[in-house]
């Protein structure tokens, strides 16, 4: 970090965007930027988690023909606050046979990556903690680390249900990482940059129109990675009690609960940045557009959660390897051809072509998948 500081290393004259704060109180603008954005990100993540928990509980309650929390504060908006107060003050239990160190570390290891992802998410033009030129690669790399935390939780709890849940999570993440990355590569080809900010700037039309299949793949694989329904096998209530956090209580459970929703917000934020034009939008301020889009994507997750049944573990694997992976490869190929054919800007005619490709591929693969992946696989 010190080497990146222009005050120390004058060989980086244009590394920083022009609207960064200058030197104040004898501290260089670099460090002010770092401090302010770290605070903003932490506050943003915490408030967004509270907000999406409220949205999920109210929204899902309405889908289930009931009301949802409405007694705690006006319209029940303080419900997540009450939950937080209560959970944080609960007793912290570590099972006697647990691997104490691993048990303690697991929530932290799981929580840190969820926060780190937001370092490269732009809230406005250039308004981000670190405009890494390998932004999306960083996201992909960091996001997988929380699996380590989940597996530590499963292993350290010395509980069979926890271990089953953690194993399922590892298997799911390993499988779904590949289609997820392949879906991102399509976007990178069109945008011509790995930097998140550059990707947003390249979206004169949102990439969801140019990459509808990529959006679908990313959304599905993202849902699978963060245990959202219909891929929520890792903490499947009706099967393995509470999955990897069965033995966690109090503050440490709160961390896992936070991770679950922080990751959902992170995936929603990445989808917003990559496919929905990020902070771009007319009239309203950029950060507001960003929040609206994140909430919209999250609402899609809530919707699937309250509608769809859960898939089985072998079907989960089959879906990743037999459906998403080939489709993602074909999508990448089609995108590459298009980028080769129109090197400068993609014309509007690409939009209907890509939608047609998506429809044909999904229908075709659904037929093939029906034959190869239907029902039970040999174990």
């Amino acid at each position: 970090m010190v080497l990146l500081d222009p005050a120390v290393n004058p060989e980086l004259p244009n590394a920083l965007p022009p609207d960064w704060p200058g030197d104040m109180l004898g501290i260089s603008g670099f460090w002010w930027h770092w401090l302010i954005f770290t605070l903003i990100i932490i506050i943003f993540v915490l408030t967004m988690v509270m907000a999406v928990i409220y949205i999920e509980r109210r929204g899902m309650a309405r889908m289930q023909s009931r009301l949802g929390p409405n007694r705690t504060g006006p319209f029940g908006i303080f419900q997540p606050v009450a939950d937080a107060v209560k959970v944080l003050l609960k007793e912290n239990i570590v099972p006697g046979t647990a691997d104490k160190l691993v048990h303690w570390l697991a929530p932290v290891v799981a929580f840190a990556p969820a926060l780190l992802i937001f370092a490269v998410i732009p809230f406005g033009n250039g308004a981000l903690l670190a405009d890494l030129n390998i932004g999306i690669l960083y996201v992909v790399a960091v996001s997988s680390v929380s699996t380590v935390g989940v597996f530590m939780a499963g292993w350290g709890s010395s509980n069979k249900y926890s271990l089953l849940g953690a194993m399922r999570n590892v298997a799911a993440v390993v499988s779904y990482e590949i289609p997820l990355v392949l879906a991102v590569v399509g976007v990178i080809l069109i945008a011509g940059s790995l930097s998140m900010n550059q990707i947003v700037l390249a979206q004169d039309i949102p990439f969801i129109l140019l990459q509808p299949l990529g959006f679908f793949l990313f959304f599905t694989a993202g849902c699978a990675e963060i245990n959202r329904s219909p891929f929520d096998l890792m903490e499947a209530d009706s099967e393995i009690v509470a999955g990897f956090h069965t033995e966690y209580s109090g503050m440490k459970f709160a961390m896992f609960y936070l991770v679950e929703y922080a990751e959902a917000v992170a995936v929603a934020a990445i989808i917003t940045t990559l496919f929905l034009g990020g902070w771009r939008g007319p009239l309203l301020p950029p950060w507001f557009w960003f929040v609206i889009k994140v909430v919209a994507v999250f609402f899609l997750m809530v919707w699937t959660r309250s509608t769809l049944p859960r898939v089985r573990i072998d079907q989960l694997m089959a879906f990743a390897w037999k459906f998403l992976l080939p489709v993602a490869l074909i999508n990448l190929f089609v995108t590459a051809v298009q980028v080769l054919a129109w090197p400068d800007t993609l014309p509007w005619v690409v939009v209907p072509i890509n939608f047609a490709v998506m429809a044909v591929l999904i229908l075709l693969w659904a037929k093939i998948f029906y034959k190869v992946g239907w029902g039970r696989l040999e174990v």
Binding site: M60, Q64, L164, M167, S238, E239, P309, R312
Partner: protein, 367 residues
């Protein structure tokens, strides 16, 4: 490097989110694959059969409510029929019609819970379950009108029913009968063709018809294997021979068929209800029988088609006011007999839905 694996024992229950009460399984797993399970019962064993010997014939009716607490009316009906068979009581027409109406409403309510719980076990996060409960509340309201209770009705008596229905009942039932078919269509639209549900439930937990008969399985589980066996048709009790209805059957005997059979049975129950509603006569609802029934010495087996299967009461009388021996044939317990064979080789997740698709009530399994 040679990889050494060994199976491990996972204890599911008695307190587990999807064991429908306090069922317990000791499952031996090889990773995610179920090698074997051992069901453990008795966590709700309340000694109902012993208590029956200490109570009068009428005094046992409240206990039948609490056996299969999702189908209290059916339990009342089964028990009362057995005692009436023993004592030779003739029931007035209106009483018979009311009994059929209550039993069919109860079948609807029980199947609603069964289907909802099955879909919940599949992982549809509470949504179908709550929709089913919304509709079940309407049926519970009807029961509350006639009996004043929401779950344990204690409505039927030896010789009829305890009291006539209030005058608001039939209009309310008409309203319910008008809306219910639309609701069944609605849940079918939601989930019947759902790809994930098909992948999860089709071909899973197959029970062959030979095995079903050998294990004495009854009710929707038996019918899902393709056997057209319904006691309402095969051995009509009460006035079921007057109604026209179909026996829905499955083909493969898998989880999906069991779910479909229940949904179709709900439609048939509505059909019966419509006929009974049309024909219900005026008159007394209860024969003139003393509350202290003293049936002649002897033994009898009365059975009905309860929502879960063949519910029977085997009564031995010694001409006193209490049964000498009262044995309940619990459909839930006997339907669990083939569970071990059905789940072997499947995954943990399948174990849950196979178990859920059998639809048991622990109060009846353990009694």
């Amino acid at each position: 490097m040679a990889l050494r694996t060994e199976p491990f024992v996972l204890n599911m229950g008695p307190v587990h989110p999807s064991t429908h009460g306090v069922f317990r399984m000791r499952a031996t797993l090889d990773g995610e694959v179920v090698l074997d399970i051992e069901p453990v019962f008795g966590y709700l064993h309340r000694g109902v059969e012993k208590l029956a010997e200490q109570r009068t014939y009428t005094g046992f009716i409240p206990l039948t409510d609490r056996m299969d607490y999702l189908a209290s009316m059916s339990n009342n009906l089964g028990y009362c029929l057995a005692v009436e068979k023993l004592a030779g009581v003739k029931i007035p027409e209106r009483g018979e019609y009311l009994r059929v109406i209550m039993a069919e409403l109860q079948r609807l309510a029980s199947h609603l819970v069964a289907v909802g719980a099955f879909l919940n076990d599949c992982g549809a996060y509470f949504t179908p379950f709550l929709y089913m409960f919304r509709e079940r509340e309407k049926i519970v309201d009807l029961f509350e009108m006639v009996s004043g209770q929401r779950l344990t009705y204690n409505y039927m008596r030896i010789g009829g029913v305890s009291q006539d229905i209030p005058e608001e009942f039939l209009p309310a039932m008409d309203k319910f009968l008008a809306t219910m078919p639309g609701f069944i269509d609605e849940i079918d639209r939601l989930l019947k063709e759902n790809e994930i549900l098909l992948a999860r439930a089709k071909g899973v937990g197959v029970l062959s018809s030979e095995n079903a008969i050998a294990c004495g399985v009854s009710g929707p589980v038996l019918r899902s294997t393709g056997i057209k066996w319904d006691i309402r048709k095969a051995d009509p009790y009460s006035i079921y021979d007057r109604f026209d209805f179909e026996i829905p059957t499955g083909e493969a005997g898998d989880c999906y068929d069991r779910y479909r059979v229940r949904v179709e049975e709900m439609r048939q129950s509505l059909h019966i209800l419509n006929q009974a509603r049309k024909d219900i006569p005026e008159g007394p609802v209860r024969a003139d029988v003393s509350h202290l029934v003293r049936p002649p010495a002897g033994e009898v087996y009365g059975r009905i088609e309860a929502p879960k299967g063949e519910l029977g009461f085997y009564l031995v009388s010694d001409n006193s006011i209490a049964p000498y021996r009262c044995h309940v044939r619990p459909p839930s317990l006997i339907n669990l007999t083939p569970l071990r064979e059905m789940v072997r080789g499947w995954k943990v997740q399948d174990l849950i839905i196979i178990f859920g698709s059998i639809d048991i009530t622990m109060g009846e399994v353990d009694r």
